[in-house]
Symmetry: C2
Subunit: 214 residues, 2 copies
């Protein structure tokens, strides 16, 4: 139903801005231009609405890892993964913030998802990384910690955009800031894994390719 999707989109923003407890049903209703009672008609309780927002977000997250396969070129696959995560940070910053706040507070609603779905996916993709290491395609690294650092570097462009804008002395990050961030992260990771040349050409090529497929 279109109404549910509209309420979820508005609730995502309010939850991102105020946190679960700080968001109120009447503020969400106001954002959605609906009476408060309608939210309860569609979702029952505040917690159930919050869960609907989280589930809506999760569908985005896992699929980003798909380019990481044993046959793929490590540099291209990792660059594509980083670029996809950065694109989400730019296009769905509220989603990233809701997810971050949920993790910060111990993942009360998402614990099971983390221990089952996410853990399985990371185990699978870590095996791919281990294979690349064994074949000497990339330098040795603990694969799960590699994922932790990639998630951190990419999601920080959504979660902590306020801090970045303050440090950069601007009101809001623009397209150029996200491009610089994407290049910075890709270069750190690829050179950190010993799979980027000293020159800058190759990373720029990957960036261009990413922009075409986005």
């Amino acid at each position: 139903m279109a109404h549910r999707a509209h309420i979820i989109a508005c609730a995502e923003r309010i939850f991102a801005e105020h946190g679960f407890a700080g968001a109120t049903m009447s503020r969400i209703a106001e954002a959605a231009a609906l009476p408060k009672a309608n939210l309860h008609y569609y979702f029952g309780t505040k917690v159930l609405l919050y869960r609907a927002v989280l589930e809506n977000i999760l569908t985005l997250w896992l699929d980003d890892m798909d380019p990481i396969t044993p046959e793929a070129d490590p540099a291209a696959a990792l660059a594509a993964y980083i670029a996809a995560k950065m694109a989400h940070s730019r296009n769905r910053p509220h989603a990233s913030k809701v997810f971050a706040a949920e993790l910060l507070h111990g993942a009360p609603e998402l614990g099971t998802y983390l221990r089952l779905d996410l853990r399985r996916k990371v185990a699978e993709k870590s095996a791919v990384i281990e294979g690349w290491i064994a074949r000497r395609l990339i330098a040795p690294v603990e694969p799960r910690h590699l994922f932790f650092t990639i998630w951190a570097m990419t999601q920080t462009y959504a979660d902590f955009d306020t801090q970045m804008a303050a440090v950069l002395g601007i009101d809001k990050l623009d397209a150029g800031d996200y491009a610089t961030g994407t290049e910075t992260v890709i270069r750190l990771v690829l050179r950190g894994l010993g799979i980027a040349p000293a020159g800058e050409t190759e990373v720029s090529d990957i960036m261009t390719q990413q922009r075409r497929t986005a």
Copy 2:
């Protein structure tokens, strides 16, 4: 006064676990083993107590950057900075989480600090990085984005420890996990900047040195 410090320490944990709105004065009072009214006697309002917690945290943050000076060896200085940030993530996870939640929600209480103190400090240290690049000591990088990624990678070990434990299939991160994280981040950054050898000896040396000075 000792009472104030004790209340701030307990409040830090409750704010970290539940967020600003989700934390209640009575829960903080319970954690501090004091009647609720005493909190208001010492801090006036919930917002003022929250500000006291934040200010207490800020004193920790900025000083970590001090090893980054023009004369320092880039590899040693950056490794020391990363190790210091990782140590804070391990020893003061609640502080990191309170700070992260404040940023997530747009830094309503900390906006001025970010635009003045933090911005000035980052500008100063970015000039050091630019100097290293000009002298060909490290590969070119946008210095402020380098800081963004280092903050992200180190603070994620405090902020998202729940997610890491779930992915690793353990209850809680232990000393070995933080050590692996520190080595992973240091290697990514140093090799990403072209200042670490292919072998693993040098990073291990820095780790050992860090442990001695910690």
